[in-house]
């Protein structure tokens, strides 16, 4: 076996240190980045190609517009302005009882969508979604109900989504509306645009570039607004936003504004016969841990056990729709899965909240799968001393900050712990399946492909001591390096036994077959224990591991003992 010395490590670092990019290459890349920063344009990266069939394209487009619409309908805070002219614009907008406008959305990887928005402070709101000029779906949001109803052009009621008063308030806080957009313009040091005539109307415009434009939907965005010089009402707004590290570009245009025109109550009434039931009844998901878990579960169900590589909303969306496309092509989404989609959205929003609150959040979706019951998928700090941990199998636990616990224990006892022993103590605190597998691996080397008859600590350590002495010689006489190696092996054996005894103490019904199984028995059970009411964890002869049901275990053990 090659043993790596510190000198070898230093040499490796030195090799890397010798690497230096060419001066010309560095100058070129810096110049390229300079141009991009100055022009605020970053390459789109790899484009995502997928076509969403059925109603999803509309739902996605609707989600974008609802971001504006919900806030627009219920927004009631006064807006203070510094610019007199633009303050008048905001005031006019605030006083308007109704508004109608057209909204175009163009987004990387999505079909273009056109939405017509009708809003009345008295009756509520309605969104008509068009694809290729044809009205396909209408979404109704009555003023007196906490719900959205989605109706297809043929009259079929596709879905009803209900939400609570609290959720309505959350939406208002999260979303930004066109009025807020005007306010953000003035806060963001806007640049005055030269006046232009839009559809015969003389206008003045502002432009601003800031991540704030669009209310946090984008990593960065440029917004432009033009208002009628004589009426002071906005006539056109544009937002060009980038997200997902520049890979997704969104262009939104709002135009054809009609302010304060009378609207008929009937325009806001879906007129659904009482006998007709929506294809899907949904409740809007709360943005909490439960929704996060449901969202992750749904993703894993769709992906065959994988999780999104990142919990950034746009990444979840991109990976999810790619999986859908790979799995189902352009086939529409099953109605019963519709509600689960809202959990996915909530998952991204919950994660974003943790990041914003600086909860020391760590996510490992790129390596952990639904099978990894012993691996942390996500953790975040819930107090000074505790973490919340979600494992690969989506079990949740609150765990203590073990380093901190150890410090407290040491302080209380007045005892000191040598720095090199701290790792061992911490390992005892964090015993896991990994320790067992690592220790069993050491046994395989010492016993040349076999396992010890028992993992009980006293017996196993005695046997290990004799084998290690035989392999490395007496620890008092051997060199420092060999001694360190032998001690590491002994530690691994110890922690494997400690983990086994922990399983016994916790009554997890461990059963060990080391006397019958060798490393060549790849499909046969070496050790198993209970991980939940119905499931067991199994480690096979070749040290592969798997979670199985009680029935599967019975079959495996039957085969193993043949």
């Amino acid at each position: 076996m090659i043993h790596i010395s510190e000198e070898n490590i230093q040499n490796r670092f030195d090799t890397i240190l010798c690497l230096r990019p060419g001066a010309e290459s560095t100058a070129a890349v810096i110049e390229r980045i300079r141009q991009q920063i100055q022009n605020q344009r970053f390459p789109m990266g790899q484009k995502r190609f997928f076509i969403i069939a059925g109603i999803f394209r509309y739902a996605i487009a609707a989600a974008i517009v609802i971001g504006f619409y919900v806030g627009f309908a219920y927004f009631g805070r006064p807006i203070t302005m510094t610019s007199t002219a633009w303050a008048k614009v905001v005031k006019k907008v605030e006083q308007a009882k109704t508004v109608q406008f057209r909204l175009w959305v163009k987004m990387t990887g999505m079909p273009d969508a056109e939405i017509r928005v009708y809003d009345s402070s008295e009756y509520g709101s309605r969104l008509d979604l068009y694809v290729e000029g044809k009205n396909t779906i209408k979404i109704y949001g009555p003023a007196d109900k906490n719900e959205f109803v989605m109706v297809a052009s043929d009259g079929q009621v596709l879905s009803r989504t209900t939400f609570t008063d609290d959720q309505r308030q959350q939406m208002i806080q999260r979303q930004k509306d066109p009025r807020e957009f005007v306010k953000l313009f003035l806060e963001g040091n806007p640049k005055k645009l030269s006046g232009k005539t839009i559809n015969g109307v003389e206008t003045e415009g502002l432009e601003v570039t800031s991540p704030k434009v669009g209310g946090g939907m984008f990593e960065n965005a440029t917004g432009r607004i033009w208002a009628d010089v004589s009426t002071q009402f906005p006539v056109r707004m544009e937002i060009d936003g980038i997200s997902d590290g520049g890979r997704i570009q969104t262009n939104i245009v709002m135009d054809q504004f009609v302010w304060d025109a009378p609207l008929d109550a009937g325009e806001f009434e879906p007129n659904i016969p009482t006998a007709v039931q929506p294809a899907t009844e949904m409740k809007m998901a709360d943005i909490d841990e439960k929704s996060l878990i449901e969202g992750l579960r749904f993703f894993a169900e769709q992906s065959g056990g994988k999780y999104p590589s990142s919990l950034a909303s746009m990444t979840i969306d991109a990976e999810f729709w790619q999986i859908r496309k790979d799995k189902y092509g352009n086939k529409s989404f099953a109605a019963q899965d519709m509600e689960k989609l809202s959990f996915l959205t909530a998952a991204g929003q919950f994660y974003q909240g943790l990041v914003e609150k600086d909860c020391a959040v760590e996510y490992h979706g790129d390596t952990v799968t639904a099978k990894d019951s012993d691996k942390e998928l996500l953790r975040w700090k819930i107090s000074d001393d505790e973490f919340r941990v979600i494992y690969g199998d989506l079990q949740v636990d609150t765990v203590a900050d073990k380093n901190k616990l150890l410090d407290i224990s040491l302080a209380l006892s007045g005892k000191k712990l040598e720095p090199d022993k701290r790792g061992l103590v911490m390992r005892m605190f964090s015993l896991s399946e990994k320790d067992l597998i690592r220790g069993l691996g050491v046994w395989l080397v010492l016993l040349e492909g076999h396992y010890p008859d028992t993992l009980e600590l006293k017996i196993a350590l005695k046997q290990a001591d004799s084998l290690l002495n035989k392999k490395y010689g007496s620890l008092t006489q051997t060199d420092k390096e060999t001694k360190r190696l032998a001690e590491a092996k002994a530690s691994d054996i110890f922690f494997a036994g400690a983990f086994y005894e922990k399983l016994v103490r916790e009554k997890k019904e461990p059963v060990y077959y080391g006397d019958k199984i060798t490393v060549t028995d790849s499909g046969r059970v070496l050790i198993r224990w209970k991980i939940s009411k119905e499931n067991y964890r199994v480690i096979f002869g070749n040290l592969d591991s798997k979670s199985v049901t009680a029935e599967e275990l019975a079959e495996l053990e039957k085969q193993s003992l043949k």
Binding site: I2, I4, F13, T15, I16, L17, I30
Partner: protein, 168 residues
């Protein structure tokens, strides 16, 4: 041009080359480093943390390390899944010794990418940025003896992981 854009541009002038060098060392590829540098500055442009950071270089350096090691992990997973052992960036022909050195360097960085972020950061700052313990302590916000101990433990862990890797 807004204030943040100007700040990022100024920072690009002062530290762009140094970060490009660091990224080249962490990825062993000039081309990848250039892409990651571009990605890094896009993030800095939109990062509130960078806007508020007292030590802009420390912030950017950490972000660069995260990007580089994230890239390494992705490459490793991708190539493993294709049954290929080495990413193409290391296939440059050369004398046998050079190839061994390159392979060892790659292995070291791969192992680093699997280590805890703090251990990794300390090792990179110490050995690739060649910072003093005092300076590292200042950057990370811990005391110097703690950093020395952390570094020593990280080296020991790195040795153990490399030994294990070579055993396999």
């Amino acid at each position: 041009m807004d204030e943040q854009q100007q700040k990022v541009l100024d920072f690009l002038d002062v530290s762009g080359a140094r970060l490009h060098t660091l990224l080249t060392r962490l990825t062993l590829s000039e081309e990848t480093a250039a892409d990651l540098l571009q990605d890094l500055f896009l993030r800095l442009l939109n990062a509130r943390g960078f806007e508020k950071a007292q030590d802009s270089y420390a912030y950017a350096c950490r972000a660069a390390m995260n990007l580089a090691f994230e890239h390494r992990r992705k490459m490793k997973i991708r190539f493993r899944s294709l049954g290929d052992e080495d990413p193409p960036e290391n296939k440059a022909p050369g004398p046998a010794e050079k190839m061994i050195q390159a392979e060892e360097a790659k292995q070291l960085l791969d192992i680093l990418s699997e280590m805890k972020p703090l251990e990794r950061e300390v090792l990179v700052l110490r050995f690739l940025e060649q910072e003093s313990y005092e300076r590292i302590a200042g950057r990370i916000g811990k005391k110097e003896p703690h950093i020395r101990s952390l570094c020593s433990k990280a080296i020991a862990r790195l040795r153990a992981l490399l030994t294990k890797e070579n055993k396999l």
